[in-house]
């Protein structure tokens, strides 16, 4: 018994690699990558190869024909500009509004207005978008907000609850002494916020920003319902073109999908540490 436990212990110290687990995980990773591989390979195929029925083959020869056609068919530059506008607007508005509101709430928690405001803003976490979508479509239409700006407004408001929750939790952990010393030096609240609080909030702003980015860049439902002019649509919504027309030009549709997906994947590869940390924080706090 003692002998056995001794040998087990020593063997675990050598950090032997668990090869069966590694193999299974690599196979699972292939499942994850397969649809992405198909997207990339289809995008680079010629029209002839794209319709030959073998989705998994390697493009031979490499062709950019799909990209060229997708670029003009979906009016990619305008679509990308709209997606960029909606995404940048949502990310900035969410970070700034949520940081402002959270700072006011945490520093005046003993005041009823601020305390109730916190629970009021949190309420949106319990309201799924479909529940309020129809009146929102009506209202944005009447107020002339049936465009990307309306989407920025609505997306920001739906992101606000979760963001305020993260910011307030973080702000409560910042000691008051820090701020008081800034005030003794003569800083106003406005200056204290921008020079001291906002920089301290940076890691939370990164989390909040990443979630707002992923939501705004990838969402289909909200822009498809709110933006009434097809010329102002975001990239994900433009892809439905290939469901109605051009449905057999697979190399074109996949090139278009790839151009719409790639920015989010590339952004993820560069910020994955924060994305992963953000999910965990979000779940624990939310």
């Amino acid at each position: 018994m003692t002998n056995e436990s001794m040998t087990r212990k020593s063997s675990s110290k050598v950090e032997r690699v668990n090869w069966p687990a590694t193999t299974v995980l690599v196979l699972c990773a292939v499942t994850v990558l397969l649809p992405l591989y198909v997207t990339v390979s289809m995008a680079f195929k010629t029209q002839g190869q794209a319709v030959d029925g073998n989705a998994f083959s390697f493009p031979a020869p490499f062709s950019l024909e799909g990209f060229v056609q997708a670029w003009t068919l979906t009016n990619f530059p305008v679509g990308a500009a709209m997606s960029l506008l909606v995404t940048a607007g949502t990310v900035l508005a969410t970070i700034i509004l949520a940081a402002f509101a959270s700072y006011a709430i945490v520093r005046n928690w003993e005041r009823r207005l601020f305390r109730y405001s916190f629970f009021y803003l949190l309420g949106a976490m319990f309201i799924p978008f479909p529940v309020v979508a129809l009146p929102q479509i009506q209202l944005t239409g009447r107020l002339g907000l049936d465009n990307p700006f309306g989407v920025i407004l609505l997306a920001t408001m739906f992101q606000l609850s979760f963001s305020v929750l993260l910011f307030t939790a973080f702000l409560r952990s910042i000691p008051m002494e820090l701020e008081e010393s800034a005030r003794i030096d003569g800083a106003t609240t406005w200056q204290t916020f921008w020079k001291l609080i906002f920089p301290l909030l940076a890691p939370m702003s990164a989390t909040v920003g990443i979630f707002a980015f992923l939501y705004a860049w990838n969402d289909f439902m909200m822009p498809s319902l709110i933006i009434s002019d097809p010329a102002l649509q975001t990239l994900p919504v433009r892809q439905n073109l290939f469901q109605t027309q051009f449905s057999n030009n697979y190399h074109v549709s996949f090139a278009s999908y790839l151009m719409a997906m790639a920015p989010a994947i590339i952004a993820y590869l560069f910020t994955q540490r924060w994305v992963m940390a953000g999910v965990t924080q979000g779940a624990v706090k939310g």
């Binding site: 436990s5 687990a21 700072y103 405001s117 309201i127 799924p128 309020v132 979508a133 129809l134």
Partner: protein
């Protein structure tokens, strides 16, 4: 500005005196700086305009016969009564709940096992983790279009080559099987979120528990079932609720895969509600949305009661 010497009204004064009993910080006796209102009020106004007003409008119109524009009359509970005997709505609820339950189970089993694997002594840990999270950052509608192509073109030709009859026609064209495709794609995209949360939970389990179990002769499987699982139970609860709430709103992926078809066999609640947009039954679908809202609130209440006390996570 002292609260005791200058009570403005008797009611206010009483409330303030009542609060006086609690230990007060120095700050609370000060006036609120106006700038704090400037920080808070924009959010409150925009939030009210964007979410509260539409919410109230929706509940209001659910008691009318409005078609979205023009005149309308109050019709009381007629919409609600009609909904409870509308087979299309009942089917969408059955489908959405069934789909959500199956998906939440699939996602959590897969994510938990992957998390166990990814926290074991394996090679290429960082690269594998990076790959497994990618589906989370991909647009749901676009990946649904990609899978749509695979399900309707590639899978049938593979099925034909392998001689599996039920695979030879598209999964998406079969009213009895299309939901499986939706579960697969939704799970494909939802696993990373649950996976990251499980990894956080598993990393927090102290290693010496396993050493003790190993000395006592527990097998790896017994350790997983009797040690790991109970220790991450809080994370399981979080994942199940977060997942379930998300899946009930299913829209993008279903639009990209089946658009509710074949027939209406895979129409989610969100899709029926949205159909009120141009289907002429605006008020009727608002009643449907109101019921859906009540369901969402009930689930959130369950969530609060289950996660309270687990904040030690």
């Amino acid at each position: 500005m002292s609260t005791i010497t200058t009570p403005t009204t008797s009611k206010q004064g009483l409330q303030k005196q009542g609060r006086q009993k609690r230990p007060q910080t120095q700050r609370s006796r000060r006036r609120v700086e106006p700038i704090f209102y400037l920080f808070l009020v924009p959010s409150l106004i925009l939030f009210t305009l964007a979410i509260t007003v539409p919410g109230i409008m929706g509940i209001f119109f659910s008691f009318t016969n409005s078609i979205g524009i023009g005149d309308w009359d109050f019709i009381g509970l007629t919409n609600y009564i009609a909904i409870f005997s509308d087979p299309a709505i009942l089917q969408s609820y059955l489908f959405t709940f069934g789909f959500s339950i199956v998906t939440v189970i699939a996602v959590n089993v897969i994510a938990f096992l992957l998390a166990v694997g990814l926290t074991a002594r394996i090679r290429m840990k960082t690269a594998l983790r990076t790959i497994f999270v990618i589906p989370m950052v991909v647009s749901g509608i676009i990946i649904a279009y990609v899978f749509n192509f695979l399900f309707s073109n590639s899978l049938p030709s593979l099925g034909a080559a392998a001689g599996i009859p039920w695979l030879e026609s598209s999964l998406l064209a079969n009213p009895d099987l299309a939901w499986i495709a939706i579960v697969l794609v939704t799970a494909w995209q939802a696993v990373p979120g649950a996976l990251l949360i499980y990894i956080a939970g598993l990393v927090a389990v102290p290693g010496d528990v396993y050493e003790a179990a190993e000395i006592d002769g527990a097998s790896k499987f017994q350790q997983l079932l009797k040690i790991t699982l109970p220790l991450v139970a809080g994370y399981v609860v979080i994942n199940i609720i977060l997942g379930f709430k998300g899946f009930l709103n299913a829209y993008d992926i279903i639009v990209g895969l089946t658009n509710g078809g074949p027939g209406t066999s895979t129409r989610s609640i969100a899709m029926t509600v949205i159909s009120g947009f141009n289907g002429g039954d605006y008020a009727y679908q608002m009643a449907n949305a109101t019921i859906f809202f009540v369901v969402a609130i009930l689930i959130s209440l369950v969530q609060l009661s289950l996660t309270r006390g687990r904040n030690a996570l």
